[in-house]
């Protein structure tokens, strides 16, 4: 069984793709929100390429954000955060309801009128976690780890059980209304197979969304962070870059200009299956007669690559 927790330097090997020289490097996104202009080209390019349906026509009043959040029909989501400059941004309590994106606080507005305003924009996406709880809990093998280290749902296998939905610590994956199955970003698995850049990164005009080998992206992000700190942008920070964090680091990570909560991101995400291993050990001890079959169905990540030969035969 693959690792559920802790540092993991080769997620593909862990998933059964053989030794490091037998699989391609882990690919990912580095989204540098300091140069995001909120054009939403990523949202549109994603939908065009992946044939994702529209997500409804609702004026939300949350600044220029009318898609609200990631979901089954929104795989890239650009958040718009308006904040008066002279009101210090306080990290809200555990509530992740994107507190700063509603109508302006009249009191803040008063002072904002004098001190100006700040408008943060950030394109959110599935994090393609090193430890992906959605995948760990998927009973059908619809969710699998690709040879690029990304996490993909196969709609022709998904049975719509929805276990993955609460499993995601970021609230990314969701069931599509009227369809019933789970959908999320595939990091354009089909494009990767052709050696192409994912649609969102390809469309991004300012290189806010950068695609590449994760190890290289991490170095690039570190350099960018240093550059911004040198320019006096002390608020800049990386999010999801740390391989020792609660999800073992993200395959899609970010440079933010404020606390993660300001963008609607959990400050300290932890893979929800962290304790699955020990849980099952306890279950096993208590019911020694139960064979490992049930466990295998939950921990079937090793099997997935082998299953791929049939499930994705046409694509490989």
């Amino acid at each position: 069984m693959g690792s559920l927790w802790g540092r993991l330097d080769d997620v593909q090997t862990d998933a059964g793709y053989g030794s490091p020289d037998e699989h391609p490097p882990r690919m990912g996104f580095f989204t540098d929100t300091s140069v995001c202009i909120g054009c939403k080209a990523c949202e549109v390019a994603c939908k065009e390429w992946n044939e994702v349906p529209d997500d409804g026509y609702l004026l939300t009043g949350m600044s220029y954000d009318n898609t609200q959040e990631l979901g089954a029909s929104t795989w890239r989501h650009v958040a718009f955060v308006e904040k008066p400059l002279d009101v210090p941004v306080e990290a809200p309590p555990a509530d992740l309801g994107m507190p700063s994106m509603g109508p302006p606080d009249p009191q803040g507005a008063e002072s904002g009128g004098e001190g100006g305003v700040r408008w943060l924009m950030s394109s959110d996406v599935c994090k393609h976690c090193t430890h992906a709880a959605c995948l760990d809990v998927c009973p059908t093998g619809s969710l699998f780890r690709t040879e690029y280290g990304t996490v993909v749902v196969q709609p022709d296998i998904c049975n719509g059980c929805g276990y993955c939905v609460p499993a995601c610590p970021y609230g990314v994956i969701d069931l599509r209304e009227g369809d019933g199955r789970a959908f999320k970003c595939t990091l354009c698995y089909d494009r990767l197979k052709e050696g192409q850049t994912p649609a969102c990164a390809q469309a991004c005009p300012t290189e806010s969304i950068q695609y590449g080998e994760l190890s290289e992206l991490r170095e690039r992000a570190d350099r960018r962070l240093t550059e911004l700190h040198d320019q006096g942008v002390d608020v800049a920070r990386l999010y999801g870059r740390d391989p020792d964090d609660g999800v073992g680091g993200d395959g899609a990570f970010f440079l933010l200009l404020d606390e993660p909560e300001v963008y609607g991101l959990p400050p300290d995400p932890i893979v929800t299956t962290r304790d699955l291993g020990s849980l099952w050990r306890h279950v096993g001890a208590a019911a020694a007669t139960v064979a490992g079959l049930g466990v295998a169905s939950f921990a079937s990540r090793r099997l997935v690559p082998r299953l791929l030969g049939t499930a994705l035969g046409g694509r490989r």
Partner: protein, 883 residues
Amino acid sequence: MPGLGTSFGRGGATTNLMDLQNSDCIVIQGSNMAEAHPVGFQWVVEATRRGATVIHVDPRFTRTSALADVHVPIRAGSDIAFLGALVNHVLSNDLDFREYVVAYTNAAAIIGEEFRDTEDLAGLFSGYDAESGSYDPESWQYVNAPQAPAAGQRDPAQPGGPHEERHRAARSETAGSGGPAVSAKPERDETLQHPRCVFQILKRHFARYTPEMVEQVCGVAPEQFAKVADALTSNSGRERTSAFCYAVGWTHHSVGVQKIRTASILQTLLGNIGRPGGGIMALRGHASIQGSTDIPTLFNILPGYLPMPHAHEHENLDDYVAGDAGSTGFWGNMRDYAVSLLKSYWGDAATADNDFCFDYLPRLTGNHGTYETVKGQIEGRCKGYFVVGENPTVGSGNGKMQRLGMANLDWLVVRDMQLIESATFWKDGPEIETGELATAEIGTEVFFLPAASHVEKAGSFTQTQRMLQWRDKAVEPPGDCQSELDFYHELGVRIRRKLAGSADEMDRPLLDLVWDYPRDEHGDVDGQAVLREINGTGPDGAALSSYTELKSDGSTACGCWIYCGVYADEVNQARRRKPHWEQDQVAAEWGWVWPANRRILYNRASAAPDGTPWSERKKYVWWDPEAGSWTGADVPDFIADRPPDHVPEDGATGPDALGGQDPFIMQTDGKAWLYVPVGLADGPMPTHYEPAESPVPNPLYPGQQGNPAIENIKTASNPMNPSLSEVFPFVFTSYRLTEHHTAGGMSRTLPYLSELQPEPFCEVSPGLARERGLEHLGWATIVTARTAIEARVLVTDRLRSLRLGDRTIEQVGLPYHWGPNGIVRGDAPNDLVGLALDPNVHIQDKVGTCDIRPGRRPRGPALTAYVADYRRRAGVVDPEEDS
């Protein structure tokens, strides 16, 4: 773009987007660049990565402001006061790049004694005729050297331009690529001390444009003004350069041309033109809008900015080019360009004996601009109308006027991909709801013809930086959809078939037209053959390489002289796609740029008068004495082998008259014009006038509220809000969002774009929301003398209450993309806009005054009654009685 044309000689951006990365400071004003030009904005982002300071001067805090170092909120329509104060700051603190200014501009030129400034005449220049509301520019001239402008009325023999008819004929547009005519170079005082030299006149003109005045007019605090002034001046000079970017936030104003002029003066004084990281980036409002002025869809110019001949002034080719014959600069060769164009149109039929069919060209008799045409429709003078690539009932100002005009036609052709509002106004337009129009009573026969999209046809775009980029066809157009090229070609074929055998002289221009193009395997006209025709061919039938090869003897044909070279060596140069990372900083092998693939115009000015670079850091084009030629990173915008110390002989004409230190080669005197002696309808120097509708008086010229040369459209459906009206106390400004495409035909019809901005909204400050009881996400009704519309309310800190002295001004932001058709619908904000036009280019103010109230607007006839009540209370004058 006469603002740039009269200043520098060519009406295009002086620089290119990629070069913005070399800027040390970028001022974006009159543009929401990140929002409207997100792809080009990558170079601004790159500049910030390299440490540039980015300043955004705009009424609203936008996506552009979010990435800028400084955002300066300004009252919409007050840009000249702000820029004029920057000019004053530079002049009164001796911060200009003096060596550049003396050598490369007309600062030293001496103006005639008759000239009177607005400072002498309370807001008017000399030569104003109150009756016609226009200027006679005769008194604005240089001493002993009447000029013809690169833009505007390029005909010094008749400097009396002020006749209503001439003036209305919009001669100002011949700005694109031109140079003035002059019989002698002007008298100059190189010390800049002569009281009537341009430098001193300029200094006096702008002396009252102080930071305090800026605060009062623009609502910008002195410390904010100082921040901009310091950033700009400390980033200009030998070692550093600053760039300006503007878009329709400047052009769509009744003083739009003069806004651009003010920026041109400032950038010239700072020595930022023709140098890397400098320049003025004119961001065009729509794909290939640059192309549609280069090869114009405008009524008053021909391809390459040749003026459209005038019915009474241009009886023959000699008359037509007379204004430029003997002139200095490259406009001196206008006859070559004109004859080659005529040869391209009429081929073998055009001979020296028949004046190369010059008589076949249409003639101007007055102003035939868009809004004048619409007025003509309402008055029954214009009977037929093609609407192609636009949706005027939503995208143009005063939608009601557009619809009333269309409802009064015999026929209307709408070519579009979707059933846009301009095609359905007769059954579901707002006037049907109010009862002002009834479907049964509209006699217009409407033809809707399906159009191919940009991926369904091959062709070139000429984008914002004068760059032609070829795009191949990706898929065949569905059903009966046709490209423009196929449609117009087929239309021509059918008309010529109907006229075949006609003996009527009137039909000769059509029958003699060169109209045979090769077709591809689908039977479609080959667009590359058209591009090759535009490029031009020589006596041997081979594609030409440069406009300098054009002849006036009929041996060359060229469809647009400034595009000559785009098909050099029989290769479609616009189709080149070598990525910039495989090239040097200029990336000359991506697409093709007019003229002659020069990326930065006037780049001779990137070197000092002696031909050496101003600095190592800003090295670009310089004189190589060993090779005896100009060289550098870009194609030199100069005569290649003319040494820096060259002094032309007396009486030299055309390019021969250019000295080695005359970088502005399209201008008759080879200089950038700080002062425009002829070519503009509303003055030789910019002056702050209030927009046609304004809530505040003009403190600079209390007796002169608006542009004295403004062009009014007097028709019942175009009433104007009185200025300083208590009934219309707020400023509105209209604009676009990234998510939608102009009038919405290509975005409100698509789910992926519609969901991103699904409803019309207005943006207001928290202060205005309190004052009027507006609620976030609630409804508001916005009212002008034209009509009232409703929109949802976004209360946002990004709009600020501005303090102008002792009063506060509130602004209402109105994205204009919506209309009654499509997936996401609503009232069209442009219905609010009144038409009072810039006299040079006939463009309206995108700002005006309004009232805003909570709640939805009245429906049906109650709406007209509601607006009529506003008009009555505000004392709005019936336009038709006010003549």
